[in-house]
Each structure stands twice: as structure tokens, then as C-alpha cells.
Assembly symmetry: C2
Homo-oligomer: 330 residues x 2
């Protein structure tokens, strides 16, 4: 006998394993004496219930998976941190899958889900051939976080990308901008957040003929990407007088480059970021604040409540508030 199991506790206390199980799971109908005996036996034999056996029988694993592009990206890292915090507080564990990393196969998620390795899924990014995952994900509680997927039927947490984008653009225009470069990652999915933003750019331009919108695509939204992008923006035939970046890091890179070139911010160039990462506060960059960590928490709470069949939020789609933070770059 290498490790004590529930039957060892049963024989040691003279009770049956059913009673042990009831007590350890906090169910009623266990006498005071039985409880004490069990406590003592558990401590004495160092008994720990076997997680696999438990979840085999109960059908619950106490685990969820969060799918993200790259754990190193600050936006996803914040989502993950939030989800882990929320999960820990109710005894759940979070498992990570990076779908943009080398070594990722499209069926890793499917595998995990169909083998019942997790109780739920949090999607923070588009899954490329959505059809490939659809059937697997329809059999398990799954929520989206920030990204609106093709399948709009999935519940999820999100911010109003359309409204917040309009508000950001209006702010830049109020501050005198008439040629705004909008920087963001290439749209991956017809309903992704970047496409919602694109729609907002379009509508805004239509309603404000005096203001020009330039779309700029970017690969990695890192500080460096913004840093190397500045020259291209100001050395155009019609130089831009404002940049609305989908990422604070890119905005930071632009600001740093602008300072080095002696370009006045916000006099000559207005810069507006998105997210309100710590670097935006440090560099006094105006930005649209998203409570990213909280979005991760909410996403977990949502999937958790669905797992337990008690959606305490009432709504399937949770809106989290955004807020325009006006600082020194606009």
C-alpha cells in the first residue's frame, strides 16, 4: 500500500466509504462522532482524495482552460492573471494554451475538451478555422473574453469597442486632429474587435468629413513596433496629426520616438492608446482604459457560473466599463 485511499479510511474508522465521502464533500447525515473519527484517521494516514478518481465519477474536474495567443503579451497576461485569481478563490485551476505558439496543433484544444479534461473554456482570441472547434465547444461551457467570435451565440465579457473607439476619435478631433492614423493588428475574423473598431473608424469618417482616417496595420503590438513606425507616419505627403493605437505599448513606442525626433506631443502629434497599461500611466499617455484584469476575472466567474448551472449574472454577455483617460499626449 503506497498511498492511503478512501477505503483505508473506511476500515480504519470502522465506517463505510460512503460515509467518508459524504463527510469530505460537506454533505449532511454524518454524526459528530463519525466526523471526529474521520478527521483523526485522515490526519493519521495522510489521506488525500485522488483527483482523477473523483472527477471520473463526478464528471467535474475543477479545471478550465484559457486559450490565448501568447502568455507573454501584456494584454493576455493580464487576462490570465485575472482569471487565475478568480479561479483560485473558488478552488479551481486554470490551464493555459497558446494558440499562436510553435508546437500548437489545432486539435490540442479539441482533444482537451472532448476527453473531458476541463470543465470549461475561456477564449480570448479567434480560433482560426472556427468550424473545426465548433462542435467540440458546443458540448462544454465556453465563454469569450474580449473577442467576439463568429459564433455570436457564445456568452462572454466584452467592452463596447464601437462606442469607445468613437469616443476616442471624437476626443482627438476635439483636440484639433484632422488626420488620424488608426493602428491595429490585422483583422482575423469578421466579428473580431479590430473589425468592430474598423466599422467605428468608417462611421466616424462619414460623419466628420473634415477629418481623415488612415488605417495602419501592424504585426506585433509591442513598444518597438510603435517606435519604428513613427517616421513612416510623419514623413507622408499628408502627415498625420494624431495616432489612435489599439495598444498602449505601440503608443509608448510612438511617443518615445517622437521625443527623440523633437516632434511636439500633443502640439504637433496627438497620441491616444488603448488599455491603460502601467506604461501609459508612467509616460502620461492618454488612453482608453479597459479593466483587463477584471475582464479575466469576470470571464472566469461567468464560465464558472455556467458550469454550475446558475448564471448569476442574468445576462449572457457581460459588458465591462471603459473610460477615456485624458493625459498629456492629447
Amino acid at each position: 500500500m503506497t498511498v492511503a485511499n478512501i477505503n483505508d479510511i473506511a476500515t480504519h474508522t470502522g465506517l463505510s466509504n460512503a460515509t467518508i465521502s459524504r463527510y469530505l464533500n460537506g454533505k449532511p447525515y454524518v454524526s459528530k462522532e463519525a466526523q471526529l473519527a474521520i478527521d483523526m484517521a485522515v490526519r493519521e494516514l495522510g489521506y488525500r482524495p485522488n483527483a482523477s478518481a473523483r472527477s471520473l465519477r463526478s464528471g467535474r474536474t475543477g479545471r478550465v482552460v484559457m486559450v490565448l495567443r501568447d502568455a507573454y503579451h501584456p494584454f493576455y497576461a493580464a487576462l490570465l492573471a485575472g482569471a487565475c485569481r478568480a479561479a483560485a478563490s473558488v478552488g479551481y485551476d486554470v490551464l493555459v494554451q497558446q494558440n499562436h505558439a510553435e508546437g500548437w496543433h489545432s486539435d490540442r484544444l479539441t482533444q482537451l475538451v472532448t476527453t473531458r479534461g476541463v470543465d470549461g473554456v475561456i477564449l480570448t482570441t479567434d480560433l482560426d478555422p472556427w468550424s473545426e472547434y465548433q462542435s467540440a465547444l458546443s458540448g462544454i461551457p465556453a465563454v469569450t473574453c474580449d473577442q467576439a467570435l463568429s459564433d455570436q451565440s457564445l456568452p462572454g465579457v466584452f467592452i463596447e469597442h464601437y462606442q469607445s473607439t468613437i469616443e476616442g476619435l471624437s476626443h482627438l478631433r476635439e483636440r484639433g486632429a484632422r488626420c488620424i492614423a488608426c493602428v491595429q493588428a490585422p483583422p482575423a475574423d469578421p466579428c473580431s474587435s479590430s473589425d468592430i473598431r474598423s466599422a467605428a473608424y468608417h462611421d466616424f469618417a462619414a460623419q466628420n468629413p473634415d477629418t481623415q482616417i488612415e488605417l495602419v496595420s501592424i504585426e506585433d503590438d509591442l513598444v518597438h513596433s510603435g517606435y519604428v513606425m513613427l517616421d513612416a507616419l510623419v514623413h507622408r505627403s499628408t502627415p498625420v496629426d494624431a495616432v489612435f493605437s489599439g495598444s498602449d505599448d505601440v503608443a509608448a513606442g510612438l511617443l518615445i520616438a517622437a521625443r527623440e525626433r523633437g516632434i511636439a506631443v500633443p502640439g504637433q502629434l496627438r497620441i491616444l492608446g488603448f488599455d491603460d497599461q502601467p506604461i501609459a500611466r508612467t509616460l502620461e499617455i492618454s488612453t482608453v482604459r479597459q479593466p483587463v484584469r477584471r475582464m479575466g476575472e469576470r470571464a472566469f466567474e461567468l464560465v464558472h457560473s455556467i458550469i454550475h448551472g446558475e448564471n448569476r449574472f442574468g445576462a449572457d454577455r457581460l459588458r465591462v466599463p471603459y473610460r477615456l483617460m485624458v493625459r498629456s499626449t492629447t
Copy 2:
């Protein structure tokens, strides 16, 4: 019957579950015809082996846990990203626990390990009362990553903190520094990396009497922390002429603040970071490069090889190389 199980495949093919299991696990002694029949039945019934049942019987979960302070911190995020990548390539999953987040209880890790919820553990940070975890972790493959714990017997990957710190200090001295502020998080553990660095500071000061070392403690190693720290460093009675920061983010904050104050870098103040995060490259900050992502990969590979009883690295403690990156701040 809601979901097909292995016995359904058995009856459907006319074989026994033992044969199905053998084939699905790639073991020998399955005829060609049997293989085809199984393939067909699996596809037809949409059979997926149940992960819990499998790991209950086999004792393997295909999962490891990585313990880190905070997934949002870029250093830990990079470790995690590396570990996830390496894990994905061999079909393993990584589970995250943040031991500095709200909602973390000291027994969450113990619980996970003693209930056999994972096959292995990667520790990237000190566990505060180490004695509390020691017995649980002695029964499972566990490796450290970057941090040297009290229990030196654990295998792990690390960089030469002592050597690299000496090299950094020597570099600063060569560039004319005579009063160096060394910034780092407060030491948590007698064998942690910050304590190894402290020893290096001490030895360096002893061997170079003309150079003064000032230890500066910091709570969060974020850009903002460096930003607000600068004034205290230069407005001292004996102002420092160089800063060696344990984190690139802090170094970046210092550099940004210095530029705003009009302090010449590196003329008046030399700045040296640690890690070589993207921001260091962008801002041209000299730094000691650590291949952090690769450290995460190596840590996983190490624990994976121990799980399979075949430590292909030979050594228990893997050294990964560091490299001094001289840029424009020194």
C-alpha cells in the same frame, strides 16, 4: 448512452477493450485488420478516451503546474510562455498558480500535488514557509526555474547570477561609475537570486574600494517604480552615477525620468538593466540578457524528462547562458 466509451468501440468492432486500448496507446500486437476496424469505429462513434479514467488507471495526468508570483509580470509571463510552448510540443498541458495573488492559499499547491492532479511542478519563485511544501513536493518531480530555493536538492535551470552581476558591475566601473545603486526586490529567501546578487555586490565592493555600492530595495519592478525612484537617487548627498537594476522595466522608468529631468545618460548617469526585455532594445538600454523564454522551455523539458525517468540532460542543474548587451545607456 450519452458519449461513446471504449466498450462501445469494443462491441462495435467485435474486439475486446484490451485490444482497443493497446492500439490507441500505440502498443504492439494489434493486427492490421483490427487497426482498420478500430479506426472506423472510432470515427463513426466519435469516440474520445476519457482523460480522468485514463489517468486514474495509468497514474499519469499529462499535466504540470507552474507556480509564479504573477502571470502579468513580464519575467514570469515569458517563463510561462516558454513552458507552455515546450509542453504543447509533447502533448502536455500547463496549469498556472499565482502565489502572490489574492485568493491564494498556501495549501492550493499542496492540494494539487497530493491529490495527484499533476505529474510535475515547476517553481519559479520562493514558497514562503518552505517547510510547508517540502513533504508534498518530495513525492513528485519538481524543478526550480531561476530561483534557487532553500532546498538545494531540487533540480532546476538557472543563470549564473553571481557571475553576471559581477560582470555588470565591472562594466559600469569601466565606464567610469564610482557610486552604483543596485536596485532589486527585497530578498525573500536565503538562497534566492536576489541574495546571490547581494553577495556579488558585497564581494565586488570589497575588491574595488574606489567604488561605492548602494543597495536600493523596491516593491514592484515595474516601469513606474523606476520612474518615481530617480529623484531620490540623484538628490542624495552623494548622488549615484550609475544604476544597476534587476529589471529592465525599472531601468526603462529611470531612463525616461532622467531624460525628462535633463540628466545626461550615460554621461551623468549610467543605466544597466537585466533580462533584455523588448523595452530594453527599444530604448537602447544596456542590459544583461537572460534567455527567459528558453529558461521556461528548459524547465519544462527537465521536469518532463524526470517524469519519464530519463533525465537526458545528464545534469540536475541546467545553466543557461547570459550575455552583457552594451547599448547606449552605459
